[in-house]
């Protein structure tokens, strides 16, 4: 009897928690289908309206959501591919080779994880200004390509690649680059997927740096555009919520489709 009540208490807790976790999403979607004032309606509006497309059109007029979404997708795609390549190569060097300075260099990457990004924005801004790169895609993308946590994750995963396999390849005369591309990469596909998702998320949600590096509306990324819309003195909540939905839906669909890799990617391999 005691067992049963303990278990139902567990369910109760979980159901309550799940509702709290999901409700804000539902409410945001509902609010994006109504006119602005409905977010404060009494009693609260909990069912879908028919204003979504109108909100979307207004949103495109005020911040150019199509262009902004394009910016975000382009930046995230280029970033994910290049950061994945750079971090995998670095992780490979750190895990499968012995060389002078390896431990010092690796320690340097790890220690840098402690440095909050906001501590770097001033010098990075001045650097970009000197290079004349402000308000460009490269300014947003380049600073976090060599991402220490991704290097760490790749290194951990690459330890699992057996050395004899690499040695056999070398004896057969496969070039070092060929080994990496044809033998190493195929054997760590799940890790590549997980880290790619981690990097994708990082850039999709990136806010502080684009906020500083970007100066014109045409270059806004989704978070920057949403924030600027929300900072106006007269806020159209229907529009804002439509923007929130646009910024959230792709990543949620992506998450639901690739749950397992996603959770692995967001958590990293620090926990097994």
């Amino acid at each position: 009897m005691k067992q049963v009540s303990y278990k139902s208490l567990g369910y109760l807790l979980l159901i309550l928690g799940a509702i709290i976790s999901l409700f804000p999403f539902y409410w945001a979607i509902v609010s994006s289908t109504h006119v602005s004032g409905k977010v404060f309606a009494k009693p609260p509006t909990l069912f879908f309206g028919d204003q979504f497309f109108i909100n979307l059109v207004n949103l495109n007029e005020s911040i150019g959501i199509v262009r902004v979404l394009g910016n975000s997708l382009l930046i995230v795609t280029i970033y994910t591919i290049s950061a994945l390549a750079v971090c995998t190569m670095a992780g490979y060097a750190f895990s499968k080779f012995k060389f002078k300075g390896r431990d010092v260099l690796f320690a340097m990457f790890m220690v840098s994880m402690m440095i909050p990004f906001h501590a770097l924005v001033i010098p990075l801004f001045k650097l970009m200004a000197n290079l004349n790169w402000l308000n460009s895609y490269e300014a947003i993308i380049l600073p976090s390509i060599a991402y220490p946590f991704a290097i760490f994750l790749m290194r951990q995963n690459l330890f699992a690649v057996p050395d004899p396999m690499l040695e056999a390849g070398r004896i057969d005369g496969v070039s070092e680059w060929g080994l990496f591309i044809r033998i190493v990469l195929p054997s760590i596909k799940p890790a590549l997927a997980a880290v790619a998702i981690f990097l994708f998320m990082h850039q999709w949600n990136n806010f502080l740096w684009p906020l500083i590096a970007v100066q014109t509306k045409e270059m806004y990324t989704l978070p920057v555009a949403l924030s600027s819309l929300f900072g106006l003195s007269r806020i159209d909540y229907g529009q804002v919520m439509a923007g929130v939905v646009i910024a959230t839906t792709p990543i949620i669909i992506f998450f639901l489709a690739l749950q397992k890799h996603f959770i692995a990617g967001v958590l990293g391999s620090a926990v097994k």
């Binding site: 208490l9 369910y11 928690g17 750079v86 909050p116 001033i122 978070p223 959770i263």
Partner: protein
């Protein structure tokens, strides 16, 4: 073999070049900047003047205090609830996957997007207050009262990160040796007792790991206060990240902003070191 000495360096080159330009150089550059001040648009060397200013800067002190208050309330509370939820999820049989996905969903949403949702829900006549008033209580000034604004941030951050931590704990709980619980059950230990005397001690290394992650996260807090409260009311939710941003990009005092940044980094280093020392192993 000798001829292949250069191979690892080639694999490392892209990362090292980017790291040098976008991490090492800024760190050194900002040390220089922290000794400079802008005089009529020109950066001039002013020695320790910025650091002296920092010592008597009440807004800086406030930003540190705010961050600290949020840290000591939010992190333990969130981690504790996450452990309880992970424990509950571990014990149930049905809908496990569904619960997992639901709890994890907040962790994939953009910080700005969820902050906006919370900001609207927490407004004076917003949804949450409607619910609170409906239960017969007084409306809470979530965003307009210095103390409640901090609570609003804590509430939002907890919502966003609880599932993430729960999943970490769930994985760790599944690794705890069943025999420990069996022995405890035979000895007649109640479930609650087992939770406090087996589960929590067994999770210690993972708790440390999540505590360090959450601490780093809280010290970096920017998106949420920027969107939810704009650092207000009267700087009650101003964080170090926001103060650096304001000093640098609203008042264009790059020298002083770099000083704040430098002191923050050193403080984080010390804090992390202490956290590892206090919790012992590894």
């Amino acid at each position: 073999m000798q001829s292949k000495m250069h191979v690892p360096y080639l694999f490392l080159t892209p990362a090292l070049v980017l790291f040098s330009v976008f991490m090492i150089y800024p760190v050194i550059y900002s040390l220089f900047l922290s000794f400079q001040s802008s005089v009529q648009g020109e950066m001039v060397f002013v020695g320790l003047q910025n650091y002296e200013k920092l010592l008597s800067d009440t807004i800086f002190l406030k930003a540190v205090t705010n961050t600290f208050i949020i840290l000591v309330i939010q992190v333990p509370m969130m981690l504790f609830i996450a452990i309880v939820l992970a424990n509950a999820l571990n014990s149930v049989k049905r809908f496990k996957a569904l619960f997992r996905v639901s709890f994890f969903m907040p962790a994939v949403t953009s910080l700005v997007a969820y902050s906006i949702i919370f900001s609207i829900m927490l407004m004076g006549d917003g949804l949450l207050n409607q619910i609170i008033v409906a239960t017969g209580l007084d409306a809470v000034p979530w965003l307009s009262h210095p103390w409640w604004a901090k609570m609003a941030l804590i509430l939002a951050m907890t919502w966003r990160w609880i599932g993430y931590n729960m999943i970490i704990y769930l994985a760790a709980i599944q690794n705890i040796d069943e025999a420990l619980y069996e022995a405890a059950s035979i000895d007649g230990a109640a479930k609650i007792k087992q939770f406090f005397y087996i589960t929590i001690p067994q999770l210690k290394p993972v708790i440390l790991f999540t505590a360090v992650l959450s601490t780093i996260g809280t010290l970096q807090l920017f998106d949420e206060p920027y969107t939810l409260t704009k650092g207000g009311p009267s700087d009650a939710t101003l964080t170090l990240g926001m103060y650096i941003y304001q000093t640098g990009f609203r008042y264009y005092d790059f020298g002083y902003a770099s000083t704040i940044a430098y002191v923050t980094v050193i403080a984080i280093g010390i804090l992390t070191y202490i956290q590892f020392k206090v919790t012992g192993d590894e």
